[in-house]
């Protein structure tokens, strides 16, 4: 049992990890076929993960509905929507429109007139919350807060054409002898903010994430970290 439960998964993980690490650098057709085959396997495993997720959602919400816990109404809406979309989807073989006549199916209708507007509405309301949060938080309480506010305001201004026109007017009316040293386009200022200080911070984050991912991947490939054995800390020797 020890072999099946511990050593076999470990051998599979280490072997697969090393093979696909090397595969990336080998352009031989056999190596490419191996990748193609593995991609199909990934899709199949992914489909099982979707099933697992579906079972988890059903268990949580059916449980809440059955025990009439707080928020049971939302669970009911979720379960009804899930069942409705599943019935609509399977009845028209998951096609938005009939391939021959072009007629919109029930799924296509639900997608266009229910899912799509709901999705867009949720994202659109964020704009209102962000505006309200900005008014409440951008206050000149310290130098750092002032810098943050000034940068944010320049970036917001830099995204709109009228501000660009006003900036141009302001800088061209300035002393022409000094005009060369003044950025004539607000775009150039916003591009500088996004392209220099923001980019520097972003690169730092990216490097950190990349190094962290590399270390984690190496630990899993070499069998030092074994989260797939499902034993929590016991998975680590």
């Amino acid at each position: 049992m020890g072999f099946l439960k511990r050593r076999l998964p470990l051998l599979l993980c280490v072997g697969t990890g090393i093979v696909f690490f090397l595969q990336y650098y080998v352009p031989h057709p056999l190596s490419q076929r191996l990748l193609s085959e593995a991609s199909t396997w990934v899709a199949i495993v992914g489909a099982f993960a979707v099933l697992l997720g579906l079972a988890s959602v059903l268990k949580t919400h059916v449980g809440r509905l059955a025990s009439v816990r707080a928020g049971w109404g939302y669970s009911l809406v979720l379960l009804m929507a899930m069942a409705g979309m599943t019935v609509l989807g399977t009845s028209c073989r998951f096609q938005d429109a009939d391939p021959v006549s072009g007629r919109v199916t029930g799924l296509g209708w639900a997608y266009t007139y229910v899912l799509s507007p709901l999705n867009a509405t949720v994202f659109a309301t964020l704009g209102f919350y962000v505006a309200s949060a900005a008014v409440r938080t951008f206050r000149l309480k310290s130098l750092e807060a002032g810098l943050l506010m000034a940068t944010a305001l320049i970036l917001v201004f830099g995204r709109v054409p009228l501000a660009e026109a006003l900036w141009s007017r302001l800088t061209t009316h300035y002393d022409p002898r000094q005009a060369a040293s003044i950025p004539h386009s607000l775009n150039s200022v916003t591009e500088w903010i996004v392209g220099v200080p923001t980019l520097a911070a972003q690169r730092g984050i990216l490097f950190g994430v990349a190094l962290g991912s590399l270390v984690t991947a190496l630990k899993v490939i070499l069998g030092l970290d074994r989260p797939y054995l499902g034993m929590g800390d016991k998975g680590k020797d």
């Binding site: 076929r33 391939p99 266009t112 209102f128 709109v160 501000a163 972003q202 690169r203």
Partner: protein
Amino acid sequence: MGRRRIFLLLALVMWLPMVHPFRFPGLSVTSSVQALHDRIENLPSGANILVSFDFNPGTKAELEPQARAILRHAFKRRLTVLVLGLWPDGWGMTQRIVRDCAATAKLPVKEGRDFILLGSQLGDLNVSLGLGQDIAAVFPRDARGIPLADIPPLRHIRTLKDMHLIVSLGAGEPGPVTWVMFAGDRYRIPMAAGTTSGNVSALQPYVQGGQLLGLVSGMKGAAEYEMLTKEDGSATRGMDSLTLGAFLLIGLVLLANVNDWRKGRS
């Protein structure tokens, strides 16, 4: 000022230009939008480009105008456009956008000849890596159910390596970063991206590193693209609402700070 008043004011100033367009002046083109436009403009007629719609209706307000501007330009340049999506919940929207662009194009554009709707697949690296091996293995049929082997342009387009440009429009994962890592870098295919205003800084390192030759950001980027192609699209019209919204936001922030300062003095 209360949150509800801010919401109401914002809704009012953003709605006003929709009924009465102002056409504010001052839009200028950023270098990364210009670079993508120039690349498409200089591709020979009949060149192949892949446009990946990696978003769902949640971000369509910013990404749909970009998609329309790029597609209209590609159709005008007589390029062969392959379209797919990595977000299955955005595929219905993608088909509508592409077919609508084709129907309203100035030149006759035909599905299966000028553009091919490949389909949508859940997944990231397995899709882009699979397309690098064999497009027909990942998408055996197009959106109309026709086998790829029966679609004339796809007799010459076998893998991603036959593409002259890949454009990924998205603001999350899988999206532009996936394409950069598993297609652009791996197969040395020129890549460009379109994203939301809030996601620009995440893609900026790839622009500066040369992995993305161009980047269209938000509705403003789409309006810049429309300006370059001399099209009067939804982004150009939307800039009025965006302008007034930005001015209101800045005005409210300044007002709140003046109010704080007055309270502090008294």
